[in-house]
């Protein structure tokens, strides 16, 4: 046979099955963009909670990436720690912590998030549960005291652990002391909404700056990196159910980690259903569980557990909903 007819003297052609061109989208690009979209909120939390907040975020991100690289080295897998997904996990984990936690907490949290929740399942794309949220839930169960000690926004540059100045979260006050107490805490309903929107209140770092979160979320929606399905159903369900049970729906939306959770964590491709219809069901489930926990549960806040519980159902939802095939009679 004739193989000598190689016209390209410089070397060999490349060959593969088509398509031979691509949209140019890549995983690192997506991950870094989502991280960037979180920066306004991260910046705001540093503004409110001081340098310490920055340090917690950095420790969390660095340790996540380090654990990712370490496990990949140990298991002999290709090292993809730079693809931004571990960084994003670290960032989100950090944003889920109060600024007052000791520095070893984000490290333990990243270890659980990256090693147990992600790499033991095969790494990016294979994990069943949201790594950052598992990290948070793990820390919550292990160090409930640290995890429920919230800082009052103070903008201090000190790095010491300010254990004296603690403030309750709005939902905590709501649960413990009631709505009226909460209103008096904020000097009025209108002030409360504004303060919540601007994030001037106690809470985990990433929960506070709702306006900054919405800003980042809008950018991701515009870029098409996330779609409205989960966030909107999630938030709407919480608002409606809260109203039905006699609560304040706006407070329900603006307080707690709902905005962060709905836009940045309940949208993690890996751990939510793929199909839009299934995503709506996912958002609905998240909303119901969140309200159940907030109103009846042992915790003041339920977003984290709601997403994790729905993560359990993701494979089931993936099975239950099928796309309509071209030419098939529409499925009911």
């Amino acid at each position: 046979m004739d193989t000598e007819k190689n016209p390209q003297e410089a070397g060999l052609f490349r060959a593969s099955v088509g398509p031979h061109i691509s949209s140019g989208e890549s995983v690192p690009h997506i991950m870094w963009t989502v991280s960037a979209a979180l920066m306004p909120a991260a910046g705001l939390s540093v503004y409110y909670f001081g340098l310490r907040a920055l340090l917690i975020l950095v420790v969390s991100m660095v340790s996540s990436v380090a654990f990712e690289a370490l496990t990949q080295k140990l298991t002999g897998a290709k090292i993809t720690a730079g693809d931004g997904s571990a960084l994003l996990t670290g960032l989100l984990l950090g944003m889920n912590l109060p600024a007052s936690v000791p520095f070893y907490l984000p490290i333990i949290g990243s270890a659980v998030a990256i090693i147990i929740t992600k790499q033991l399942f095969g790494g990016l794309g294979y994990n069943i549960f949201n790594p950052a949220l598992i990290g948070r839930a793990f820390l919550m169960a292990s160090f409930p005291r640290f995890m429920t000690t919230w800082l009052v926004p103070h903008g201090s540059l000190s790095l010491a652990r300010p254990d004296a100045v603690t403030g309750a979260t709005p939902l905590g006050i709501l649960k413990e002391e009631g709505y009226d107490k909460l209103l008096s805490h904020f000097a009025g309903r209108h002030d409360m909404y504004v303060q919540l929107l601007l994030g001037h209140r106690g809470g985990a770092m990433g929960e506070t700056g709702v306006i900054a979160l919405l800003f980042g979320a809008a950018y991701l929606l515009y870029k098409g990196y996330i779609t409205w399905h989960i966030p909107v159903t999630f938030i709407a369900t919480v608002a409606v159910l809260t109203a039905v049970f006699g609560g304040d729906p706006w407070l329900a939306i603006l307080s707690g980690g709902l905005v962060l959770g709905a836009f940045f964590m309940a949208t993690d491709y890996v751990t939510v259903p793929q199909l839009k219809k299934a995503q709506v069901a996912f958002g609905l489930g998240c909303g119901i569980i969140t309200v159940l926990i907030r109103l009846e549960g042992g915790y003041p806040e339920g977003v984290c557990y709601a997403i994790l519980l729905m993560n359990c159902f993701t494979p089931l939802l993936d099975r239950a909903f099928k796309a309509k095939k071209f030419g098939e009679a529409p499925v009911k």
Binding site: F121, Y126, A137, M140, G298, A306, P315, L316, D318
Partner: protein
């Protein structure tokens, strides 16, 4: 049997509320597998495939309800009057074993297809903690007949839910690149731990 507040109140809605609470509590909130850590052997054993999980779910729920009912009857109508409560472990497990063996023999003959689908699970049921825990709770808590049966049904439904969730997750895991030493049972344990961690969100779901 002991006085039960709902019963003595004689209020039908209260009774249904009470039964509903028992059902939801045992099926979801206090799911035996994820919050009580019972029934694990079978849970891990048959959750590899959705098909087996479904088979086990149906079989288990049926056996659960029947054995809860039978146990209640014998315990409350025979053992309590005779003051031989100390035989309850023997009795409860005896009922399950006998019933399962009976159903096994019958099914094999009467409906072989169903037998080949469900038969293998029948035998496994006798070695499931929940099957014993439920009658024990029923007698401990002095539940009435309906409450006992509801607890049986709820526990069965809860176990089924756990199995189905787990099976769907494990089927997805078959596409994942779990490191070799962790394939199979170890990763299943980790998954269950993670689900249990998520179910902690339900903990304390009580009014104070």
């Amino acid at each position: 049997m002991a006085a039960d507040p709902a019963e003595s109140a004689g209020d039908i809605t209260d009774m249904f509320k009470d039964l509903f609470t028992i059902f939801i509590a045992s099926a979801i909130i206090n799911n035996f597998v994820f919050t009580r850590y019972l029934g694990l052997c079978i849970f891990f054993g048959v959750s590899k495939k959705m098909e087996t999980a479904l088979g086990m779910s149906m079989t288990f729920t049926a056996v659960m309800v029947i054995s809860a009912a039978l146990s209640w009857l014998v315990y409350n109508l025979v053992m309590l009057p005779l003051h031989i409560e100390f035989l309850r472990i023997v009795l409860f497990i005896g009922i399950v074993a006998g019933f399962v063996q009976f159903a096994d023999t019958m099914l094999k003959k009467l409906n072989p297809t169903l037998y080949y689908k469900l038969g293998i699970y029948l035998v496994l049921i006798t070695t499931n903690c929940i099957i014993l825990a439920v009658p024990v709770i029923n007698s401990d808590e002095k539940y009435n007949f309906l409450q006992s049966v509801t607890l049986g049904l709820g526990s069965g439904a809860g176990f089924s839910l756990a199995l189905i969730i787990m099976a769907s997750i494990r089927e997805r895991l078959e596409l994942a690149n779990v490191p070799k030493p962790f394939q199979g049972m170890p990763i299943a344990f980790i998954v269950t731990g993670l689900i249990a961690l998520a179910f902690l969100g339900f903990s304390g779901l009580i009014t104070i």
